[in-house]
């Protein structure tokens, strides 16, 4: 599930991965990568600058997969996932062809709070 949002003028117009899940029986078949490719392709056609997503810091398999697909950690969002205890998220990004200078993926060093994330 995904959407495009943000402002073109501020160069934050981007594709956002709202949720990505594969049924347990159909894992390890490359389906997640395939779905990510589709979202990137559509975002590119919609002239987005980048694609972003949030992922649990503990979800190593997912984080590794996104890295393998060319995503990098843009910033860490503290206690983004509520639970017991709350868990941090990585905000990961990948620049699309419109962002030639890859400005959108320059990492932010300091972690941010969820309320500071648009």
């Amino acid at each position: 599930m995904g959407k495009s949002e943000g402002s073109v003028a501020q160069e934050t117009w981007h594709g956002h991965v709202t949720a990505l899940t594969v049924a347990p029986e159909y894992r390890r078949l490359g389906l997640a990568a395939k779905m990510m490719n589709i979202l990137e392709e559509v975002s590119d056609r919609k002239q987005c600058f980048f694609v972003d997503l949030f992922v649990r810091v503990s979800n190593e398999i997912a984080v590794d997969m996104y890295k393998w697909l060319g995503y990098t950690v843009y910033r860490r969002v503290l206690e983004y996932y509520s639970g017991d205890p709350d868990e941090d998220a990585f905000d990961m990004r990948k620049a699309l062809s419109r962002d030639k200078e890859m400005k959108s993926v320059i990492p932010v060093k300091e972690p941010v709070r969820p309320e500071d994330v648009e």
Binding site: Y26, R28, L29, G30, I38, V42, R45, K46, S58, E60
Partner: protein, 1001 residues
Amino acid sequence: MASHNHEDAVTERRLKPIYDNLDNGNYKVAMQSADKLLKKHRDLHCAKVLKALALLRLYRVQECETLAMTVVALKPTDEPTLQALSICFREMNKVELIVEIFSNAVKTQPSEEYYTHLFMALVRLEDFKRQQQTAMSLYKLVPKNAFYFWGVISAVMQALNSDNSLGQKMLLPLAERMVEKMIKEEKLEGESEVNLYLMILDLLGKHEKALEVVGGTLGKSLLKSQIPSRDERIAELFFKMQKWDKAYQAFREMLIKSPDNWLYYTRYLTSGFKLRENGWKPPDTGSEENATSHEDCNNTNKEESQTTDYDLPEMAAFISERIANEEEKVREKTGKALRGPYLAQLELLLRLSTQGKLEEGPQAGSIEDVLVRYFGLFADKTCCFSDLTPYLYMVPELERRSCLQRMEELVELKVNDGAMVYATSVKQLQRHLTSLKISRFYGFHDALSSEEKGNLASELIKRYKEGLSFGKGLLDTDLQYSDEYLLMAVHLLVDVWHDTEDESVLWRCLILLKIGHKHSQSSHHIKLLLMRFYCMAGVFTTVPSLYDGLDIKHMQQDTLGYNALKYAKSLGQLSSAGQFYNSTLRFFISGRREVTEYMIASYRFGTYEKIPEFLNFSTKIKHSLHFAHTAIEKKLLDILKESEKEGKSFTEFVRNMEIDPSQGTAEWDKVTDQRDLNIMVSWNPPHRQMSADDKAVSLRQETSWVKLRDYLLRLLAVSIDLQPQTSTHALTESQNNREKNVVDNKGDNYNAKESGKSLLQNFEDLLQACSKDQETRQKFPIQGPPTPLTIEYLDGNLGTVMALSFHLVQESYKINEAVADESSQSIQDSFCKHCEKLKNTLQESLKRSRRGLVRDDGEKRVLDREVLTELTLLTETSVYLVYLLGIACRNLSGLKNKISKRNKKKKNTPKPLPECIGTFQSMVEDIGQIIAGLQTAIRELESNAKSLDKNQLTLTYSRDQSEEFAEGESELWATVSESYQESLKELSELLQSKQELLPNL
């Protein structure tokens, strides 16, 4: 203008504290400050509305409505007042009033904003016709494309929701013309507009025209996001138009680029087979072809080569080519093999096989080879078995064993001198599991004796434990690799249980699943099966946490809720039941509201094609059987527990529920079944899976039960109107106020006597129909849906008890009405008969269910898993009975008073009290005895439950002597004991509190 703005600002400043207080929940303060403001500024409408809103949130609905309506009558046009009224009416669920205020406002102040509000209010009301008119007025005022297309989609929605002919003849062509007008004027701006146009053309079946749009300039310039791609749209259109040759070609080309797209393969094959069926030949393709045929100089040859172009060999060759590409990829190590091409080959064979033309196929006789090859390539994927399911039965029965053997050899798990060899890698383990699943699916497990099944189960449990070592590093959210060994062992044990009726197997399964759950917290398969086993064992305390652990959200409440709905109440855990009903109903109520918000968002963002989808979804959940069932059970539970408590009489309580007895809770002909009945995994052979017929039977069973419960609820509701009205007016003042506030929901032509009579007839007819219908008792596989409580209800004669009680209510009302004159003699006779029958039936029902929790079964002692449900239903019935006897009693005491008054006047010939009064009185006493007996039965069972763990060794028997199992076993018995005690305690307390209400004349 400046002064006007200044005025606005002042007003705004004055109103702000009221808004703040409303936002912060200080409704009383908000009301007071509104009052203060209104003293100074009597015409500040907005303050009035805010006061109304505060009243609403203080549950003073009637006052709120009165006040708000005085403002509506003034036809306000200022923004803050209109906004406040909107909020107020939305919270009151009276969207039609929002429509009214904005329709008034646009008459004097037509603005984009007010029209938009009006439009959105109409969306909430689902008034598509006025939506369309409003959109067009708005477009005239502000010529933005979006507004014009709001009008177009509104016309489409109107068409989709009107009777078909009107939609087809008038509204859709209208929508089509509306778009085409814009196209002519070259005003189309975006993809969503083209998509809407394509949707209209599709609904009209004008695929040719759609093809021109997609392939033409509009498509090229505006269909930018390419989902679905233009090629795919075109191919789909060919397919819809049944231009099989073109569709065949188009999907073929797309498959070259996307060799793993299953939809393309099925379309490709369907088109190819259609061409074959129709004996299609390609048209003469002009000079070039002719030139080559000259060289051949052989006409027959030419024809043959042309027909084969679209024939089987071509399809087979094409698919083989795709497979060859995959093989090359693997050989060159440039990627992993895709499953699509291999499955397409199997699909081709299946289609030939269903036509009985397998021998015509290119691979005749080699289905086994194709299956074994697929197994060899993909058996280590968990999806391999479900991939192969449709194709496995193509292998002739006698060859299945050898087919499986060839697969088993590929697992390379050889038995060494009889000693078991365990899988040495995750991949090998998964291959082994796939072969086991296929073996079960082929029915080879069914062919085993009970002992062999038991042995295989034990082997699988060992493999399960061994396999856990592969998953040591897994996260909590991951599934254990060897979970399926355990699940299959349990499935085998279920077979043993069914074969031998040995109850200890059930408990063994429970312990195994508990262990499985401990090791694999996220496996929903284990959780669902464990839940079902607990429920079958009569244990409910553990279910809510398992259910919550499934993380069931939104729509899943509707699709999966059936796994818990039946048991919550039937196992006597009434508080849990209440919580479960509440969370379910919250989804159905807020879910529908949310969908409306999404629809509004779709209008705003121009995602028109989603609007009918949202409306469909909303309609579906509105008519969901699970929704109706839960809503009815919730009301029945509230009446059961909460009435005649804290000063609220049964009559008053039910009246406040605003049930309309003349209308069913659901529109039965529109009911939808969203239950996902395939959620639990099963590798059983096809004939032992839930078939489509089974599902239909299950739905009918479920519907009958829900209808029975609905009749019961409505009969309870109608009963409160069948008693002397004075008794309902003995209310305190505050109750009286509330009484007035209750909007009487009952229909105009409502007649309690008639309504009661026909409902009772329906109730009795349905009871009888269910008891005669064989279907009522049909059970399903353990992975399927539970059967509703109809069977237990019928066997306990509880429907009869209820029906007799309603007869007593209705007859006593008539007797009282007729003041026991001669005309009511026959009713009195019938009343007396019913009294007798009621007493006897209830007596029998109790006798039937008066058992201990543990019974002897040969040499073993087993737990009686039925008795709790029986007692729960009996308790429920007894409580309703007590309420109803109260009503009958009020009728008869009314009669008694009238007669004694009359006797005072005619001192000489005092009329004796009619016989029915004495009969009733003695019956009530007898019923008091029976209910006391029920109470004793429950308490005895409770003490049985308390000492349950002491008996454990004779209850379970297992060969598994591992520490983990022993630990699981003692934990389990503690849980069982605890849960039964809790259930029985709830029942006992409920009965205790209601027992005292038994009337006395």
